[in-house]
Symmetry: C2
Amino acid sequence: MIYLDNAASTQIHEDVLEAMLPYLKEQYGNPSSIHRYGRLANKAIEKARKQIAMLINADSSEILLTSGGTESNNTALYGIAEKKPHSQIITSSIEHDAILEPCKKLAKDGFDVIYLPVDTHGVVNLSVLKNSLSDNTCLVSIMFGNNEMGTVEPIAQIAQLCNEQNIPFHTDAVQAVGKIPIDVKKLGVDLLSISSHKINGPKGIGALYIRKGIDINPIILGGGQEHGLRSGTENVANIVGFGKACELAKLNLSDNISHMKKLRDYLVAKILREIPSVILNGHVENRLPNNAHFTFLGVAGEDLIIKLDEYGIAASTGSACSVHTQKASHVLQAMGFSHEQITGSLRLTLGLFNNQQQIDETVNILKKVTAELRSVSPFKEKYSFN
Amino acid sequence: MIYLDNAASTQIHEDVLEAMLPYLKEQYGNPSSIHRYGRLANKAIEKARKQIAMLINADSSEILLTSGGTESNNTALYGIAEKKPHSQIITSSIEHDAILEPCKKLAKDGFDVIYLPVDTHGVVNLSVLKNSLSDNTCLVSIMFGNNEMGTVEPIAQIAQLCNEQNIPFHTDAVQAVGKIPIDVKKLGVDLLSISSHKINGPKGIGALYIRKGIDINPIILGGGQEHGLRSGTENVANIVGFGKACELAKLNLSDNISHMKKLRDYLVAKILREIPSVILNGHVENRLPNNAHFTFLGVAGEDLIIKLDEYGIAASTGSACSVHTQKASHVLQAMGFSHEQITGSLRLTLGLFNNQQQIDETVNILKKVTAELRSVSPFKEKYSFN
């Protein structure tokens, strides 16, 4: 099997699992208990919180633990918005549904939600942002790196625009963390979402960085864990694993980036060289190092990934999460892509455990299945496929 | 170490961990992905959903997976309440904070929240409930078994009262599942919260049973997982572990109940016989089989558990979750207990892995530390302690 869907989820690093195991075995205390079992669990959480914080140069006290990236995004949006009813929220048209769906709800609840347009490479329009910011803006939320076509947004510039007007700025960095060096202090970001399972940690755990001084409302209430900002018994083992994953991500950041970028560039070059009528989508330079997103003209991306799956290759057309809604990619639509271009989408996302041999094999199989599919394509004439 | 705090959390069963491991190792797919990795993850979730459903005689389609008991409770309350703004919610004065805190928020948002009183044994007053139910009631939420003093509420009777008036009835069964046979169909319950880590499953995962025909709003929005009712990449390994824990709980239900009840009754009898000035709190018969809750007169419960901890015994004064708020037990206050009675609280909760030798040892140590603490107690004269 060749796994090229690392934007959807990643394999847990063996050191991460090893760190988790004691908390799945003998260290089963509730972190709120005051006896030894509880204290050990609590200590483990605080160690992990520090590891998470260090990856983005935050302070431990600025890390809120959540059940994952989606909850982090929901918490940022609702947590800030509730403080200023009927105000304005600025986001972009290419966000993940974990931003767009809460925004839709907030719009129903009386908020004015502005969706910034993007160019054909998926970069948000900064002048529209600049003109939209007002005293009534309660929050700006723009993703760090896009989950579909990998474009990295000008986060430092956006943060600066927001900072100048004292408007909280949130970024969904679920795809960027561990793939780009992130320093929240230097960037001037106020809130930042992280997901563990995108960086070789376990699923079901994530964090929201909340800069000291930013005040948010909780969305889940109860026993008062996480200083009242997220109640519920802490998922100790997963938190410990998440912490370890962050530690490893920080330790190996430049090596990991080189590894992924080298394989990705090799993959892109090989595909564009060896398979005709393929277009690379997204930004050429400002791009997540593990992302490759193509349009295979005259082919349905879904047919491609089903064929690839038969050959043991895991790929996707875009966001795994959009499977439930079955709609065409709103990201590519926002970039001005035609229906045909969107239909031919193939996303290949690399991870720590991929190697060049897998890429060679993948391109060989891709060549074969593309030719097969194109030989029966309704677009056969249009593109002069054999 | 002797762990007698199973109401706070439990040890993961080794079969549960074994079931989880493949999903922490090679089966790391995102359940929404359409390739083999995704399909296997999705299949594992659906198997677990069935195991969870079977424990309470529900249908798989009626099980909503959440990040735990607290989120399940929040989802039930907000999910129903949002459908009928400014209506009435009926709950009890002895609920867990995961019910009471959302209720406080709903009260602020314009809902009329009624807190049913309880008697000295902690049983909710059914005639007040009966008189409170009206066309304006959107939800009744009464816990199944109390987390502090273990009293089991008359759930079937409450459900019947609600059913007669077509009012949705939710029960927080986090402490009762796996300790009492629960058949949601026979009971007539509409919504029921479950937590995995209270029944020897992993932390960070839970479920809300939602009877077919009951319509709720989601609180976390995004990619549309769980039929749009709970977005976010599924915590596959923990879901699988939760499923296995439910399967085991169902399989061994009567054995587990006998085991816990036998040890608990032995513990209670031994303490009341061997240690003077101790009162058993809660209901004598209608009680969770693993719960023992006492007042040790003239002693501070916190001092007791710190001393016990020094001897390697894990116990608690009440809810682990109340540690954060540091307030006196609202449960015991609602039962009419005096400050002094509340101060002397000790909760010992049994689990699958306790045995009689541990109980003997615990009572011996308790005898010793109680005598020590009482010898310097300000209540020494009052109770004629030596």
